[in-house]
Structure formats: structure tokens, C-alpha cells
Symmetry: C2
Subunit: 460 residues, 2 copies
């Protein structure tokens, strides 16, 4: 059974009518077999005052899973409405990393209430994870994993799994530690199943171990998941002691979030970290205005360049008409280069030491692209603009335009490929060094070249 | 033990010297404990003729895992050098989905050789998957999964797992089918471990089932993984019969690849699907030229608009200087809107039915942003350009510029947010309707508005 978005909308309508008629049994039947994220979608499409009612229709474990998938405002509103017992039930059912994610978004008084309700162990575990900085690997890990000692037999390992496995985030991979919790290796559940009951964990475990440190950037850890096809990764502290694990679902969320952040930065937006339709008007304005203001001001320098060549433009007015084409082509060429390099950096395909290779490649691409564009443009100018539209264009003017085009594309791709790498080397986010920033620089360069060639070839 | 990129470079140097001195035992020791993807990285940094030598140093299973991680050219070159027995060994060790991925990239004669070497079952399985269209879910699935009948006991299920589990892609999730292979539900390995040996599979299985169809787009399937936090998904044919599974590692690769494709399309590049440093010069030129040519030609229409208002520009030459600022601001505003909408579409946050909400939001954002920019620009023009730099700017000219700015931003964000949604509705890739395309349209609109206001307010 697959539920398309449209069917979910139909279910929302059904739920609304059941709830209006107080047919709670049918309402429950409608949603209880769906995936938690789909139930959450339905709940959030219903009138706000019905959300607590629907929530209480769900069995305990499912209710907690649905709670995780609701957006922050719905979660907060539900928590405020819960009795002490209801809140405790939800908190106890939650996986630790989900509980931490939720708490991180709550205002202080709600956090206090949640922590006071939780039992001492849960409270201590939550506080442990909360102490890690935002965007660190420690902040996305969980402590609900199974660790095994090397001298355990496979049979004893299974006993442990059966005893504690229900509440663990995962049992697909288990980490082997010594008595001081230093990480020694890992075993997969498959290895355990295919081994004999008397085999020792230490003998069958894998010890070639890629791990993450609590203070590693979450994006760096998430990328290791993709690179090594991991399902989980162990997280260690400075002394190589196992303190938690990260699972693939959280790594995927980080990858997607960090990519959205990159994409927004490349378009001169301050990232919002919320779905588009959930961000308010003023929030969106605030995320877009800063760069627009900065770029608007820097674009006026380009304008100043044009002003200083006013006389030349007045003398050969047709030069005006090709300014947009030169600036646009420069901007597009530059952002082609910068975007590919930025993406290459974020996929770990390019690093500082590749700067030479990248520049050499872009230079050669730029020359070929520039010449192709210039030749096509020359043909277009002479045939279409001059012969068909009778614009007053001399051969020299056409040459000025087309030679400028070659240099513009060259400068654009050179600037476009180097700025992101320099930004990365200086510790900045390379995505900021993208299209709008580069366009401004390239505009200025291409206009200066344009007017220089105009002066030279047209004796202005 | 974590291997940073720099340490891998040191290992490459070590390997080179060992190989030069024919110290093959030490060479083997250097790499045999690393992750396959890191071994592949090292091998590809070594001289090409040493790759077969290093490959043959590796134990069979590890060699196959490393083979998967090599790039296509290295794989092809190794295959051509393999004896019949060596090729068979590698093919037999490969997981099915990896074998298919490799074969998809090989030239026809190499494919023939591989398929003739493989045993009949493997050949049949590979051919089954190869028949699915590129970018379909069928093309990324594997048939190496465990299925269980509902009337099996947990104990018998474990017997089956122990018997066939070694060669399966995964045993973390197993699917339950009836005698005609119709999908009934699934059990996790955890559920099996926590159940009693006499429990029936049919009683403990989960039957609320999200599945993928063989012909679903791979990106749609990959996004379900993120949405539902799945590790595997069942793939069914038109009759809901289970034909394969997709695992999270392949879904993550699809997500990353499709995102890179989006990012490149938004920058007017034809996607290349290869790492930046692996794409040749002419390949890169071919991926960038088409859009640059198209946009260059369309930019000349903008130039024609400027030409047709030459007289006005000659009369009030200072109008020239603000053209770049208006066009850049329009372009940046437009791409802020289009990029957020395109990303929202690809994250399933926005669909055709949200068009009204999106437009209403962007209109209000545009008005506020436009007014803020216009006010700041007015201040800047009157204070900096006029008073400090003594440019000849009257109040009316400043008004023309700033009012145009408001309309430009408005038009830009309106065009920027609607074109991607329309593209998606018409079945095109919304990422194509991004910055460069929108910039061209917005340039033309903003210039027309500029000159209209100039005519009106300056009586030109």
C-alpha cells in the first residue's frame, strides 16, 4: 500500500468529518495503520484544536513516533496541554536522539517541565547530549546502543540483545569495548547469527574502525556515511572512549539540511532551516535583505565605471546595447564555474591542494567556451543585428564586443573557480563565494576590459 | 582509527616506494586493513600499471569490495587484464546491485565477457535488473534479499537466515510474501530476536507497508527513505509481487546525485554525473556551452530595449549608470525566489496545489524587500552619489530609479517563484527555470519599467 499525497488529503477530509460527528472509533481506524510521518501530516492539516484529540486516539508507542514527526509548534502546544502522566508516557517512549531533537527546539520552561518529568537516567542522558555544540557530531548521537566486551561469547551476546534490545536505537551493529570503554571494533548482527554460540566476540569482530569524534562537524560525519556506506558510526571522545553512536537516518537528515544550506547561500540567502511554507514573511525578508543590500551597493560601483566612460558611450551609442549581454554572459560563466567547484568541495572531490588543477582546467575551458561564444556572437552581430536590423555596427565595434566577450568569460571562470577554494582555505563557507558575489566582481572587470578595447580599437 | 585525506596521501607514497622495491608483503600490509573506498583511492593515486599488481595482493572478498569503489576506467582496464578465472572470482564475490552498476558503465564487449563468465543464475539476475530503464527504481534494486512465508516459525526463519544469509545484501529487514510472491508485510531482525522460536512470522510481522514500484523514478523512491527513515524498501511489480529491494546506501547515492544535478541545472550547466576532476575539458565545455549560447542570444533582446531608448539615455546620461544595479538586483531577487521554490519542490515541501500560497507569500516579501531596498538606495543616491560624488542627479531621477527598483524586485520574485512551479506542473525539471533563465526575463521587464517611468517623470 502506498499513500500518495492526494490520498492523504482525502484522509484528512475523512478525519475532519469523523471528528465533527465525534465518531472517534472510525477516526482511529482511519489513521492507526499509517506511517507516523503520514499521521503527523494528517494531524497538522486538521483544525488545531482537534490535534490533542487525535493524538490521544493513538496507542502509546505509535503516539510517540507521531510526536517526533510533528512540527515544533504542534509539539510545544501538545506538551503544554499534557497532564504530567501523559507527558511522562511520551517522553519515556521516545528514542533518546529524538527526545534531544525535540528539546533543542523548545522554550526554556517547557524544557524544564520535560526534564523534571523524565526519570533520572533519561534526564542524565539527555543532558549529556545537550551539552554538545550545535552542528557537532555529539549533538546528533544517541547513547541507546549495545556494547559488548571482547571476552563475551556469541551466545551471551544474544542473551544481552534479547534483554536490552527492545529499547535500543538499533541492534544491527554493536560495538566492542574494553573495560575502560575504549573502542576496539564492531560486530554486525549478521556476523553473530552466522557464528557459533561459543565463538568469542573478540575473535569474530571487525577491528578496522572508522569512527567520529564528538566535536567533529556533523556534516563531516554525515559524509563519511555516504562515503563508506555505513548504517551506524561509533562516536568517541578525545580518549577514544565510546560515548554514543550516530545512525544513518540522522546522517541523511544532516546531508539534506546542509545541502539546502549550501543552495540557499549560493543564491545569496541566509539559510532558514525551515520548510518554505513554514517560514513567515518577516523571517523570509530578513533572510534575503542582507545580501541584496550588499550586492546593490556594490553594483553601483559598476555603474560608476559606466559613468566614467560616458563620453565614449555617447560617441558610439551602440556600445550601450551590448552591455547587458556581456554582463549576463560573464555572470553565467562565472557561476557555472563557482557552482561546480562549490559542489565539488562539499562532496569532498576538491580540496585546497587541487587549486592548481582546478585553475588549469577552468582556464582551458574558459578559452574554448569564450572563443565559441565570441565567434557565434560575431556572426550574430554581423548577420542579424547589422544586415537584418540595420544597426549601425562597424567591424571594429563587433571586434570590440567579441574580444571583450572572450576576456570576460576567461576572467569570469577564473574568478569563479578560485574564490570558493580560497574561501574554504580561509575557513569560510565556500557557498557564499557564489554567483551574486562573483557576478559583481566579473561585471566590473568585463566593463573595464570593454571600454579599454573600445578606446584602443575605436580611438575614443 | 580514522584516516584523514592527508594520511592517505602518505600511504600512497609508502605504497609507491614498496612497489618500486618489489616489497609486496609490506605493500599488502599497508592497505589490507583499510576500508575498501580508501584502498581504491590509494590505488587510483598510484601509477596505472601498478593497479593490477596491487589488486592481486588483496584477499578475494576485499578485492571485490575495492573493485566496486574504483572508477569506471580503472574497472574496465582491470577487467581487460583479468584471466577468465580472475574475472569469475570477482564477479561471483560482487553483490548483485554493485555488479549491475559496474556493468551499466562498461562497453558492450566487456559486458559480453562478464555475462559469459558469470554462472547462469547470476546472469539471469543481472539481466533482469538491466532491463529496467535508467533512473527507475528497478535499476537500483537488488534481488539478494530474504523472503519468508507467513506460516514459517521464527525458529525456521533463523534456520533460513543462517543458511543463505551470508550472500544477502542485508538481513536487517525481511519481507513476507504469499505463495505467489505477493507482498504481505515485513519483519526486522530485531523482532525475530525478541520473539519466541515457535511464534509464526505472520503473527509478528508488520503489515502497514510502504513500497516502491519498479517503474517509480529513483529520486521519488530515495526521498521516501528520508521521509520514513527506512533502511530498506521492497520493490514490487504491477501485480504487487515482490521483485527486489532497495537499500539505504543506494538511496543516499541517488539523493546526492540528484541534488548535484539540480544544483548544476540551476547554474545553467548540463549535468555531467562525474566528479569535477574526472570530467575532461571538452566534456566540460559541452556541458556549459548550450545554455551560455541561449542566454547570450536572449540577452541581446535586453540590449535592443536599451537601444530603442537611446535618445532618452542620451538626454539624461546618468540613467545609464544605474542599469547594472537594477539588473543585478532584479537577477538576485529573482534567483532567491526561484532557488527556494526549486529546493522546496525537490524536498516535497511544495507542489502545484501550493501555487497560490507561494505567490501570495512572495508578493508580500517582494513588496517589503523592494521598499527597503528603494529607501536605502534613495538615501545612498542622494547622500553619496549626489552630495559626496557630485553626480548630476535630480530628485526626479532618483525617484525613477527607486520606483523602478520596487517594481523590479516585485516582478523578479513573482517570475522567480512561479516559473519553477509551472515547469514542474508541465512535467519539466523545475531546476532549469532558475537564475539565468529568470534573470533574462526580469532584465527585460525591469528595463521596460525603467524607461517608462523615465518617460513619465522626466518628460522624455
Amino acid at each position: 500500500m502506498t499513500y500518495q499525497k492526494e490520498s492523504l488529503d482525502e484522509l484528512v477530509e475523512q478525519m475532519e468529518s469523523y471528528l465533527n460527528e465525534k465518531k472517534y472509533v472510525q477516526a482511529r481506524e482511519t489513521i492507526v495503520d499509517l506511517e507516523p510521518v503520514d499521521i503527523a501530516f494528517i494531524m497538522e492539516a486538521l483544525p488545531e484544536d482537534t490535534i490533542p484529540i487525535v493524538f490521544r486516539l493513538l496507542p502509546k508507542e505509535l503516539a510517540a513516533e507521531v510526536f517526533v514527526e510533528l512540527d515544533t509548534d504542534s509539539q510545544e502546544s501538545l506538551i503544554r496541554g499534557f497532564s504530567k502522566a501523559e507527558l511522562k508516557e511520551v517522553i519515556d517512549e521516545l528514542y533518546l536522539d529524538d527526545a534531544v531533537d525535540i528539546i533543542e527546539e523548545m522554550p526554556a520552561n517547557v524544557v524544564k517541565r520535560i526534564l523534571s518529568i523524565a526519570d533520572a537516567d533519561t534526564r542524565r542522558d539527555i543532558n549529556n547530549i545537550l551539552q554538545y555544540p550545535e552542528d557537532s557530531t555529539g549533538s546528533i548521537m544517541t547513547t541507546e546502543y549495545i556494547d559488548l566486551k571482547a571476552n563475551l561469547t556469541v551466545g551471551d551476546a544474544f542473551k544481552k540483545i534479547r534483554r536490552v534490545g527492545q529499547d535500543m536505537e538499533t541492534i544491527n551493529v554493536m560495538y566492542v569495548v574494553d573495560k575502560d570503554r575504549h573502542l576496539l571494533g564492531f560486530v554486525t548482527i549478521r556476523q553473530l547469527l552466522l557464528a557459533d554460540e561459543e565463538d568469542l566476540i573478540g575473535d569474530i569482530m571487525d577491528d578496522g574502525l572508522i569512527s567520529a569524534s564528538t566535536m567533529d562537524d556533523q556534516e563531516e560525519t554525515a559524509r563519511k556515511f555516504k562515503k563508506y556506506d555505513f548504517l551506524t558510526m561509533p562516536v568517541v571522545d578525545k580518549e577514544n572512549r565510546l560515548v554514543g553512536i550516530v545512525t544513518i537516518d540522522d546522517a541523511v537528515d544532516v546531508l539534506v539540511e546542509e545541502t539546502t544550506e549550501d543552495i540557499e547561500r549560493m543564491a545569496a540567502i541566509s539559510p532558514s532551516y525551515k520548510p518554505y511554507l513554514n517560514t513567515g514573511i518577516m523571517e523570509t525578508v530578513k533572510s534575503r535583505i542582507p545580501w541584496l543590500l550588499l550586492l546593490m551597493v556594490s553594483a553601483t560601483f559598476t555603474g560608476q565605471i559606466i559613468s566614467s566612460f560616458e563620453d565614449q558611450l555617447a560617441a558610439v551609442t551602440v556600445l550601450n546595447a551590448y552591455i547587458p549581454m556581456l554582463m549576463d554572459t560573464g555572470g553565467n560563466s562565472g557561476s557555472q564555474a563557482s557552482v561546480t567547484v562549490i559542489r565539488g568541495i562539499s562532496l569532498d572531490e576538491i580540496s585546497m591542494k587541487d587549486l592548481g588543477k582546478v585553475i588549469w582546467k577552468e582556464m582551458r575551458v574558459a578559452v574554448i567556451v569564450g572563443i565559441i561564444l565570441a565567434v557565434c556572437n560575431f556572426a550574430k552581430i554581423m548577420i542579424v543585428d547589422k544586415m537584418i536590423f540595420h544597426n549601425p555596427i562597424t567591424l571594429q565595434v563587433a571586434l570590440v564586443i567579441c574580444i571583450t566577450l572572450v576576456f570576460t568569460v576567461f576572467a569570469a571562470k577564473l574568478v569563479g573557480c578560485t574564490l570558493p577554494i580560497f574561501a574554504k582555505g580561509l575557513g569560510f563557507d565556500p557557498a557564499v563565494m557564489a554567483s551574486p558575489f562573483i557576478t559583481t566582481i566579473v561585471d566590473a572587470i568585463s566593463l573595464l576590459i570593454y571600454f579599454q578595447f573600445a578606446k584602443m580599437l575605436l580611438s575614443l
